[in-house]
Amino acid sequence: MTPIREIIRLANLPCKDMSALISRSMDEDLDPVRRWVVKFHLCYCTACRRFRVHVTRLRDLAQDASSQFHASEAETGIKLSPEARERLKRSLED
């Protein structure tokens, strides 16, 4: 496919494929053409703009979650059961 046709094809990608590109842009630097088609699409597509906001927020939440689980048992309500503690203790004594 010629470069021009490839650019036209990319520029006409439906939201399903565009959302995948938006997701991919969070994991690697897109080439200039793909970067441009995503920016162009986001100019007119409210839903995809909102999707980008959501996946960006998901990243922030995941990082918060990672630090949140350094929090205490009182803050999370999660703890090892007494039976699990006993099993761990026995395995370390062996």
Binding site: L13, P14, C15, K16, D17, S19, A20, S23, R24, M26, D27, E28, A47, C48, R50, F51, V53, H54, V55, R57, L58, R59, L61, A62, Q63, A65, S66, Q68, F69, H70, A71, E73, E75, T76, G77, I78, K79, L80, A84, R87, L88, S91, L92
Partner: protein, 174 residues
């Protein structure tokens, strides 16, 4: 250590096993602890290695199961590839401590619903903040496969959080 592991593997038995392996490894290597970091940091570092080993070991099996088109993705777009759902505005952060605890419970439950390969990819990339190349090496997958898994994980988590938290009025979020 248990809470750290549980968020990443969503299975209490596996989390307990990983903590046990990490503590045994720490006991065997205690003479190598140089006190350049806190004990907690050192132990979590060992646990992270065990988690990576776990994801590496389970990845090969998971790869064979998750090759088909994703159900959530198929339900989100129409035949022309346009959004078939209305994406809500995600406004506000949990304000009170009670709301925060509820929110993290919902987040944890949403993570629990992620299929194995999506969960592994998402945990390594977003919780452990490994770069894409590192994640591919651990899981033994191509970059293309990784992007697919991450995209599907994000679509599922997005949908789950929206339905179970952001679309619900505050008093109905429990």
């Amino acid at each position: 250590m248990y809470r750290f592991a549980l968020l990443r593997v969503q299975n209490s038995d596996v989390a307990e096993e990983l903590v046990q392996e990490a503590l045994v490894a720490a006991l065997n290597a205690r003479r190598s602890f140089s006190e350049r970091s806190s004990e907690r940091t050192w132990l979590i570092g060992i646990l992270k290695h065990k988690l990576v080993d776990h994801f590496r070991a389970t990845s090969a099996r998971q790869r064979q199961l998750d090759e088909s088109a994703d159900a959530v993705e198929q339900a989100t777009f129409n035949r022309r590839g346009l959004w078939d759902v209305r994406l809500a505005r995600w406004s506000g952060n949990p304000a009170t401590d009670a709301e925060k605890e509820d929110f993290w419970r919902v987040f944890r439950e949403c993570m629990e619903h992620l299929p194995g390969s999506m969960n592994s990819a998402f945990c390594l990339r977003e919780l452990e903040q490994m770069n894409s190349e590192e994640v591919c090496q651990v899981l033994g997958i191509t970059p293309s496969n990784l992007w697919t898994q991450l995209h599907r994980a994000r679509m599922r988590l997005r949908h789950c959080l929206e339905e179970n938290w952001f679309k619900k009025p505050p008093r109905r979020r429990k």
